[in-house]
């Protein structure tokens, strides 16, 4: 077993913890077999799809806040591990806000959130020049209802992989 897969496995372990924090019932649903790994699929630990889905590409924030919760920190730790293992990738972190705020303030708030995620990744060893940030404010919600259920998902920082030369 090489170092890379070891790290990937550790990342997965970290996520088991993170995930079970969030959703203990997921454990019960884990009955499927491992199957064979299809390169580029979410089963391939070096694929962007794996990063998005298994590692988790986004962290959520409380109203008006840009501080990282413990859940957010553990997801970002997984992102940092993945990025350290897959050095071909760079990333742009997109900061977002819910619709409860003025347009321009929310742009700045989204930038704060993206930056908080970036700072965390840097603190875990990811090179700063691999990480860009951009804010979309409230321009790109993923959930469109006007209740806290949707707002909580829209207050997010999403790490989008770029510069993929993965093989």
């Amino acid at each position: 077993m090489n170092v890379l897969s070891k790290i990937a496995a550790l990342g997965a372990l970290a996520l088991v913890t993170a995930c079970s924090n969030n959703d203990p019932s997921a454990l019960g649903g884990a009955g499927g077999g491992s199957g064979s790994i299809v390169p580029g699929s979410p089963n391939d630990p070096r694929s962007p799809a794996y990063f998005q889905q298994a590692v988790g590409d986004r962290v959520l924030f409380a109203v008006d806040q840009s501080t990282l919760s413990s859940e957010a920190q553990s997801i970002l730790q997984g992102q940092a591990d993945w990025l350290l293992a897959n050095t071909d990738y760079t990333a742009t972190i997109e900061g977002h806000a819910d619709e409860q705020g003025t347009r321009e303030y929310n742009l700045a708030l989204g930038a704060r959130r993206a930056n908080a995620a970036r700072e965390f990744l840097i603190s875990r060893g990811v090179a700063g020049n691999r990480l860009q940030t951009v804010s979309y404010g409230k321009e790109r919600p993923i959930e469109i209802c006007s209740t806290e259920e949707c707002y909580s998902k829209n207050r997010r920082a999403v790490t989008v992989l770029t510069g993929s030369t993965a093989g």
Binding site: Q100, T102, E104, Y105, L107, A108, A111, N115, E143, I144
Partner: protein, 439 residues
């Protein structure tokens, strides 16, 4: 005085009222009146020749719509008219207009000569039988008939109210279509009343918050064209745009012109921190105006250029601050409950319009420049981004409805809080910027 008293005493003593008694005038003081739209009549303008006959009705209708749209005037339906105005030069039969309670009357004529349209008009105070101001005429190509109608309405408005009009003006805004999570935005410009919409960008990149230059010839706006928010300067006449460069890796947004049009103030985000900067447009050089870890955005110049009002969360929540135009100590002016944003200095200089968020609702409000006399004009799920009419009397803003089918549109409201009404746009609309009166 002696004589007066004597006569009074005599009168009281005799308990009679000799009509011949010498008295001064009866003096009364009124402090209560009514506030209601002034009734006016605009009979169709008279065509000088049959060839001109296609214009008068349209012109009269635009004038009436402009005046009615202010909420300060109420049109008397033409069906109620007793008199017909068949000649622009004939004397006015005021009794006929008094009888239908018209306070003001606008008469006019239209002449067509080749491609040149000439519109003449007069404004009458019906009950005094006097003309308000002088008759005027506007001449121009037939294409410009709408502008001529707006100009007539501006004259009528200012002669009666005593303040400048705002009808011959344009509004830049963001035209919005598509669902909330895939909203397409295009920069657009239109007449103040929603006519003549023209698009200035396509919807390939998100565009935000256009701002007119003081002369109305240029627009500042924010676009994601390069992948991140950057400020662009657009020549409105030539539809030619130019990016205003800031450092790589930064976001720049929230630009506003200085009153002389030579520089802009804007927000620059470096890392997670957003401060205000000022850029000289000729040289492209920027200087920093604020330097705090807080978010500072939505700046707006006082009309004299001496101060800038802006939004900052340095206190923990977004509030309004005023600072000298070159930076320096900022004074907080908003102290009510809730969060304040997007302050905009009125063209008269006496008021600041703002967005307020409190208890789950949004409001457009106005306050004096020292923060006193705050008044909220609207209340809805989401109102934001006020812009002033050129005369400082009306505020246009964005109203977004809630839920998955939420839609953005433009509204306007008189600074009294009366006359809240939607502004027609072909699709959704947001981020209006009201330009100056056209020359």
């Amino acid at each position: 005085m002696m004589r007066l008293l004597t006569s009074l005493l005599v009168g009281l003593t005799l308990l009679s009222a000799p009509a011949s008694a010498q008295t001064g005038p009866l003096r009364l003081e009124l402090d209560q009146g009514i506030i209601e739209p002034m009734p006016f009549a605009v009979p169709n303008f008279v065509p000088d020749t049959p060839a001109a006959a296609q214009y008068p009705t349209d012109i009269s209708r635009v004038i009436a719509a402009d005046l009615t749209g202010t909420g300060l005037f109420r049109e008397i339906a033409p069906e109620a008219f007793i008199s017909r105005v068949n000649s622009f030069e004939a004397p006015i039969q005021f009794a006929d207009w008094k009888a239908i309670n018209a306070d003001a009357l606008v008469t006019g004529a239209v002449n067509l000569s080749g491609n040149t349209l000439t519109v003449r008009f007069r404004v009458w105070d019906v009950f005094s039988g006097q003309e308000l101001g002088n008759g005027l005429q506007f001449s121009g190509p037939t294409d410009g008939w709408r502008r001529m109608a707006h100009k007539v309405a501006d004259q009528v408005y200012s002669r009666i109210t005593g303040e400048g009009g705002y009808f011959d003006s344009r509004v830049a805004f963001v035209s919005e279509s598509g669902p909330k999570d895939q909203r397409r935005k295009r920069l657009a410009i239109m007449d103040y009343d929603g006519a003549n919409v023209q698009y200035l960008t396509d919807s390939a990149a998100i565009v935000l918050a256009p701002r007119f230059s003081p002369a109305g010839d240029r627009l500042l706006y924010t676009s994601y064209e390069s992948g991140r928010p950057r400020i662009y300067l657009l020549d409105v006449g030539r539809v030619k745009k130019q990016e205003l460069k800031t450092q790589d890796g930064t976001m720049s947004f929230s630009p506003r012109f200085s009153p002389d049009g030579r520089s802009i103030v804007y927000s620059l985000t470096q890392g997670g921190n957003t401060d205000l900067w000022k850029m000289d447009l000729a040289s492209g050089q920027s200087v920093r105006l604020t330097n705090t870890p807080a978010i500072e955005t939505a700046p707006s110049y006082a009309p004299d250029g001496s101060r800038i009002v802006f939004e900052s969360d340095r206190s923990g929540t977004p509030q309004l601050y005023v600072m000298p135009a070159n930076g320096g100590e900022a004074t907080r002016i908003s102290f009510g409950q809730g969060r304040y944003g997007t302050p905009v200095w009125s063209p008269r200089g006496d008021l600041i319009a703002f967005t307020k968020q409190n208890k789950g609702r949004f409001h457009i409000g106005v306050m004096r420049v020292d923060g006193s006399e705050e008044r909220l004009l609207t209340a809805s799920f989401l109102d934001e981004g006020p812009t002033w009419s050129p005369n400082g009397r009306v505020i246009m803003f964005t109203r977004e409805t809630q839920g998955a089918s939420g839609r953005s549109s433009l509204y306007s409201v008189d600074i009294s809080g009366r006359n809240l009404r939607p502004v027609r746009t072909p699709d959704g609309g947001s981020d209006p910027s009201w330009g100056p009166l056209l020359k």
